[in-house]
Amino acid sequence: MTCTLFTNVTLIDPEALTEGAGHLLVKDGVIADVALGPMAAPEGAEVVDGGGKVLAPGIVDLGVKICEPGERHKESFKSAGAAAAAGGVTTIIMRPDTLPAIDSPETLEFVTRRAGEAAPVRIHAMATLTKNREGREMAELSFLKDAGALAFSDGDHVVADTKVLARALSYAREIDALVVGHPQEPTLSKGAAATSGKLATLMGLPAVSPMAERMGVDRDIAMVEMTGARYHFDQLSAARALPPLERAKGNGFDITAGVSIHHLTLNVNDLSDYRTFFKLKPPLRDEEDRLAMVEAVGSGLIDVISSMHTPQDEESKRLPFEEAASGAVALETLLPAAMRLLHAGQLSLPQLFRAMALNPARRLGLPSGRLAKGAPADLVLFDPHAPFMLDRSTLRSKSKNTPFDGARMEGRVLGTWVAGVRVA
């Protein structure tokens, strides 16, 4: 029996929304005891003295792109796993937007096997909602679910044909599957590289109103009302998308929503010198939108914070802004970026870990995300105040497309444990 005692740590309880000095005992990969105050080490136990730093449930990151199969030069299971471990992410929920897409049980089995071999953290895959993410025919949802797909998503492809979406949602409802959608009115946002407004006007970039996101939210909520499906918005970014979400939740629909760490910490003004590492999908919004999203995480209206980790190689990014690919890597920067919200006094650690660990785990039916007796010992020990300057060349991801290159950040991971085993 292996046994580890974490002493002298600040424990984060995202369920009770509390934090306090205490200890945590791990036996055989499971949390055996957790309590405030000190505790004597059991015989034979390894003792980890946290030095007063923070011990939290490992991050459960919903919506990570790993480029295997298909574009392993951008990110492999090995590199993504190392990045996750270094960033305190103990569970990756992988997007199915690989090449080929994860739309068959065979591809899913390949992915699951490779992930298990190559990565030190837990990796679960989502499968596509429609074949090859084309929005025409639904994928083999039931086979895929049996093969281990945790949820169904076409990534950032919108199922534009509402009839196809309605059928897929009805089918998903029947097999009790969670569908993860990307809210966007695709014809309105076609060709856009930025959010419409002063800056996009000045820069001469094709732009889209955040209203396109609102329209996507409205449509999808109507479809959920019609079909009764379980639904999660992968990432909201616009303030005006929040009132319909609040109404839908109030009406008792089984809807949750996420937000990316970038939309919580950056805004449209960061684009001002055409730096393509800031080109995201949806595009960065106004400061008022950012603040509304932060507030919605605090109130619980937004359930999940994700990295929306999207590796892109240099060739995809070193292009004129309109031509450059969208997306940013964030497995390693999720935690320090989230600390900006803590240090700004906008969100507490328990609120942050509710959104980064507890809620995504619950939504996907995983037992992790909590510091509770019986939960898996997926843990991150970190110093929320340790300052550093991010140098993108030090990232473990194969792709280095982070908007935080050269940024001053606070928050360093001191150790990461998956099932009680130290992985970083």
């Binding site: 002063k198 000045l202 001469g204 055409y274 060739e315 004129p320």
Partner: protein, 313 residues
Amino acid sequence: MTLRARHLLGIASLAPDEITAILDLAEHYAEMNRSGEKHADALRGLTQVNMFFENSTRTQASFELAGKRLGADVMNMAMQASSIKKGETLLDTALTLNAMHPDLLVVRHPHSGAVDLLAQKVNCAVLNAGDGRHEHPTQALLDALTIRRHKGRLHRLTVAICGDVAHSRVARSNIMLLNRMEARVRLVGPPTLVPSAFRELGCEVTHDMAEGLKGADVVMMLRLQRERMDGGFIPSEREYFHRYGLDADKLRHAAPDAIVMHPGPMNRGVEIDSATADDPTRSVITEQVEMGVAVRMAAMDLLAQNLKAERAA
């Protein structure tokens, strides 16, 4: 007076005194261009490369003539027909160019920000000859010079910029320059081509020509950029001409001595009728072309002075 930056990427990076310096020097070259001796040696021994990733006859010819009149060795590279088609990236192109040791690089590119990107990677002075919908600084400077020659000043003039503002880099550079020089800018056109976000750039926005032209000292018409539109911005060209095309009737709303400008090439009968475009008492369109050469000479002269100072140091 010299320019503070190494490149001329946009009006956004020019201070009012720099704008005035370019215009003053251009005035000198305009005079020289009208004389029998059209040659100076400000760029002697320097190599100027014109790289156009987008078709252009007028601007490229203007830069070429400007360079030649100042004694530079000028080379034109028509990029839309060459390596880009073979998959070479913009930055590979920059590396290739560096190896040729140009001194002045004149770039036009269909994407906003592309010239800035290129400027970060090359060792010479870069002049933006138009990037996407972003900036076209020498056009704004030649417009300013033309206005100044007719009105004697830029400040406290009312300039109406009419038509397809949304897709226009000319409009953006002009808005910035005119704001900076304390002129009053009014934008006129249908809401699909003049979005209200332009109000945030410090302009008045109106969708009615009579209101927009009222009392204007300068009426600047823009070309309907059919190639930059992805469809459906206006119902038809004839309806557009009826509501927004400049003719004598609409021009009556402007100040009696208002001048009419157009960056060219014109779509006659779409944004402007021929009688107005060719009216010698109002139209300064051909003078704009003339000032284009002078302004480009001035801009390249000033950038070359920096280059020489940098090399001497």
